[in-house]
Symmetry: C2
Subunit: 202 residues, 2 copies
Amino acid sequence: MTSPPVVKKAARTRQTVDVRRAQLITQGMAFFGTRPYDAVSIDDIAEAAGISKGLLYHYFPTKRDYYAAVLETAAADLLAQTTIDPALAPDLRLRTGLEAYLDFVKARGPAYVALMRGGIGSDPVIAGIVDRVRNHYVDTVLRDLPAPPRPRALRVLLRGWVGFVEVTSLAWLESPAGTISKASLIESSSLVLAALLGDLAP
Amino acid sequence: MTSPPVVKKAARTRQTVDVRRAQLITQGMAFFGTRPYDAVSIDDIAEAAGISKGLLYHYFPTKRDYYAAVLETAAADLLAQTTIDPALAPDLRLRTGLEAYLDFVKARGPAYVALMRGGIGSDPVIAGIVDRVRNHYVDTVLRDLPAPPRPRALRVLLRGWVGFVEVTSLAWLESPAGTISKASLIESSSLVLAALLGDLAP
DNA sequence: TCGCCTCACTGACTTGGGTTCAATAAGCCA
DNA sequence: TGGCTTATTGAACCCAAGTCAGTGAGGCGA
């Protein structure tokens, strides 16, 4: 007879729904912000959280739903960080907002990339979450414009502008230090926006 | 004893490596251009191609590698369609190139979206293929510029410009007909590029 | 024409990770 | 204290990716 295993199984602790959910979301941010979606297994998360795999399914019906919940939280963070006092003058608000955006990207770094890009672009729910963020920025810009002509067309171009900001942010993040300054990016982004708006409404 | 199955198993046909590979790539374009990566199973493809699953693994070591090969082909198609006669004047070449790009997007439609976006953004090999396409466009623009100041910084901005074109293309594709014309998109894209170049090198 | 040899091809098996579910027990309330 | 709800568990299930030992189509040399 060998001696019984030394490892004491941690006593099962029962948490309220809110606490456990919050814990799991935090756990998910750490995981999905580090490795891509399918390099993260449910077992990994469960083990790190000190719970059984089954419990995760008690909170989230599916792995994708879990991921969506995590992404949703990250998106909310981003929006919270980049929402600027509406009392400011439009162009100052724009610059402040861009700066906040870039600060967020810098601060989160790879986690931002992983959550925004590393996901499952195919899943409509996931894509919807990211799109909502993008549309929010489009709306923010549009709100300052006094009844532009051809608003539908302008939306398409503004989506493009958001794409420009997103892509330059990522390129900036990945480029060696000193390649381009935050100030230059803000400058160029405002310039592009002005060019688009000036063109559409002369 | 029940009667033997009626279905005649198709005689095993032996193809040359090149033919089979080409067939499988074509097959993959159809599948991955229609549904997202993980909604396509190896069994589906094998069955549609009339071969065994094992054979697919004889040609491609892994599902991802298979997907990469398909994407590579699609990317080559895109580049082939958007490579414009270098003898043309730069700004005419730009407009012609943009038009070709938009035509390609329109022609492929959902397949373009699925292949470019629906993939596994996390996989470095996959991401590399898409990035190579983007960088190619950056290089194409840079080639026309006589020794710009701060070329590294300009690259970041040009990546952003490519992002702008990509995103507006997708938004255009998804928007109801008549929202914005192809001509307007070309116009705005050139405008944005001019603004960026004019700003960097006054 | 025949036998041989290569390698395209098969199908049954293994494996890993997402998902399910019946049983268990922690904490609350009467 | 007993009973009830439900957070929690662990084992089983299932699907799809990946493996592998074997098979036969067809080309080639004699």
